[in-house]
């Protein structure tokens, strides 16, 4: 059933133009490119403050499909209004063309998905809105200088959780947005990673089958905020998956399936060491206990996955 078997099958059409002012090496651009390749021409993008807003700075836009900018916490509400408005034109006023049948995709960062826009997103899912909600999750408020968000992982340095003195950086755990969304009973929820392009393409393709909320969270490597080398974007994303820190999975009407199960988990430190935001875990002294805590959380997760896969 997988339409895309490898990168050779990537559609040729590009709906993102070059020349945007997003940082070199930004994963959010890669995600947007492939998302629109699969969703296609008849898509309208809703965006809110966040890094991807840089795609559309008057008088320029890199997005080749129509685009509506809303307030930070309002992405899903704007999508609701657009979807409803277009549906009314079709159902009440008898207008039927490609415009009223646009797919509506909300493309926002983790601040808008996990934090300030959480309420409006939750409500749109609850109402069964027929839309795509895609979060490029760079695990902090990247556009404002990398402050802590609800998506920031444990022990990450951010500009509001500096690891000074005894501090380990962010002391909170990352919200499990996949499980939160799944608990809403959405028809399709998926995690994706830029390292696994065919997995990503197939998930967008599969989501098209469902009417209702289709929710994606993509680990979005942020060389600027994470303190990583730009060329490492894909390698870091792959390490996130192979260390087990970023599981690739989907849930169809709540039924979870992992689309990639690492045979042997690489140690998390291989991932952590690629980024300056975790450097304080290794320098000036190695913080063994914190590293072990992160490792154990990952192992615990996969132990449960194996149990449930065996049981199911």
């Amino acid at each position: 059933m997988s339409r895309y078997r490898g990168v050779r099958d990537i559609p040729d059409e590009e709906y993102v133009a070059p020349g945007s002012a997003l940082c070199a090496g930004c994963a959010a651009e890669i995600i947007a490119r492939h998302m629109l390749k699969v969703l296609g021409r008849d898509t309208i993008m809703v965006n809110v403050p966040g890094c991807y807003a840089i795609s559309t700075l008057f008088p320029y836009t890199a997005v080749k499909v129509p685009f509506v900018f809303g307030v930070f916490g309002g992405g899903a509400a704007v999508a609701q209004g657009i979807r409803d408005g277009l549906d009314i034109l079709r159902e009440k006023r008898g207008i039927n063309n490609e415009r009223v049948n646009y797919k509506v995709v909300v493309y926002v960062g983790d601040g808008a998905a996990y934090d300030i826009g959480f309420q409006s997103t939750s409500a749109a899912i609850h109402r069964g809105l027929d839309f795509y909600f895609v979060c490029y999750d760079n695990e902090a408020y990247g556009n404002t200088g990398f402050q802590l968000s609800g998506a920031t992982p444990y022990a990450s340095r951010t500009s509001t959780s500096e690891p000074v003195g005894d501090s380990i950086g962010n002391e909170y755990r990352k919200k499990d947005i996949f499980e939160i969304w799944r608990a809403h009973g959405a028809p399709y929820v998926a995690t994706i990673s830029v390292s696994h392009i065919t997995d990503m393409l197939n998930k967008f393709e599969k989501a098209k089958e469902f009417r209702g909320p289709k929710l994606f969270v993509a680990l979005s490597i942020c060389p600027t905020g994470w303190g990583a080398s730009e060329e490492e974007t894909i390698r870091i994303a792959r390490l996130a998956v192979e260390t087990g820190m970023w599981p690739l999975k989907e849930a169809v009407y709540g039924e979870v399936r992992h689309t990639f199960i690492p045979r042997r988990l690489k140690p998390v430190e291989e991932y952590l060491k690629t980024q300056r935001r975790f450097r304080h875990l290794f320098k000036p002294v190695r913080r063994e206990e914190e590293i072990r805590r992160i490792q154990e959380a990952v192992e615990e997760y996969w132990r449960r996955v194996r149990e449930s896969e065996a049981g199911g």
Partner: protein, 409 residues
Amino acid sequence: MLTGNAAAAWGARVSDIDYVAAYPITPQSEIVELLSKWVASGELKAKFVEYESEHSMIAGAGAASLAGARAFTATSSQGLAYGFENLFAVSGWRAPMVMVNVSRGLGMPMTLQVDNTDVFSARDTGWLQLHAETCQEILDFIILAYRWGEDERILLPVIVNMDGFFLSFTREPVYIPSQEEVADFLPPYEPPHGIAFSPEELAYAPTIILGHSYSYFRYQMHLAALKAKEVFYEIAREFGERFGRYYGPIEKYMLDDADIAIVSMNSFTSILKGAVKRLREEGYRVGVLKINMFRPFPNEEVADALSGVEGVAVFDLNLSTGAGGIIYPELLRSIYHMESRPRVVLDFVGGLGGKELTYGEIRFMVRKVVEAMRGEAEPTPYPYLLFTEEDVQRLAADMEIAGKKWGGF
């Protein structure tokens, strides 16, 4: 016989709205309850969505309008404040729609009663504003507001305001035009830049980094809002010819031969009009100037209406703390360049929290103006609070029950 809330719902219904974005709040909820019932029964062909907050509700209604649907919503006080940033989003999209605000004070302390500070706080958001005195005006203003905001020269959303309780829950006779009659007046909504209608596909509301483009687009909204006054005359005339009720940006009541004008907005204007006759019997040549349109502000009309008047009492059912009433400075702007402007303009804050406006307080306003005109009292830029001896007694009783040692004034 309709309440203000029912009149609002009927105004939306006969305007053949496509979309209702709802969220409950007292004293507004009745409006969307009625609309939801009509949508369910099929009497109104529209989609009804109850949002999870006014923040989302206003964004959703505006986005539906941007798509090309005629959108309606209603709120009040806290809800208006909660959705406030989206007021700017919707006007910035240039997405015309109508929102009824049932005016109520903003907590804390919480109140359910009227205080127009809520709606006046939205004066800088790019929304046009019409304020209703009667239940009939609510219904008529909604119909007018759709035709007005949707005009291609304007493309701005409109707030139609009514006072909580004093109109929202008050019944009076209201003439309801048929949907067919209204349809002749109000053409189908097809915004030239709408998602479904624009000649080209567009990116809406890109972030603007530099000041020259930002200045241009913001100023276009201002110019469109100014143009709206001219357009209002056009459509109000046509409305009058069709329905027999004529409206303007202002309304003059016994003002032509008056020395003193009381300036007012919204439902308390009826109380002031009622007092004018008695004041005249007492020898005060008083009239009332009612302002229907707060954005754009009808500067020329206000100046013209006050041209023969010596003293003005502004009745402000609102309070900008640290300054005074909100209508007062708006009015001063209107009259500053008059060749012979009223010599005395005083500000009176009253009716806050739905507090009764008594005849004594109205006479107090007029007397203060007369005293200042005669040079017997110092004119002041600060407001007088209309607060009676009875109010003091009732407050004292409350204070005692609340266990607060209050010594009175």
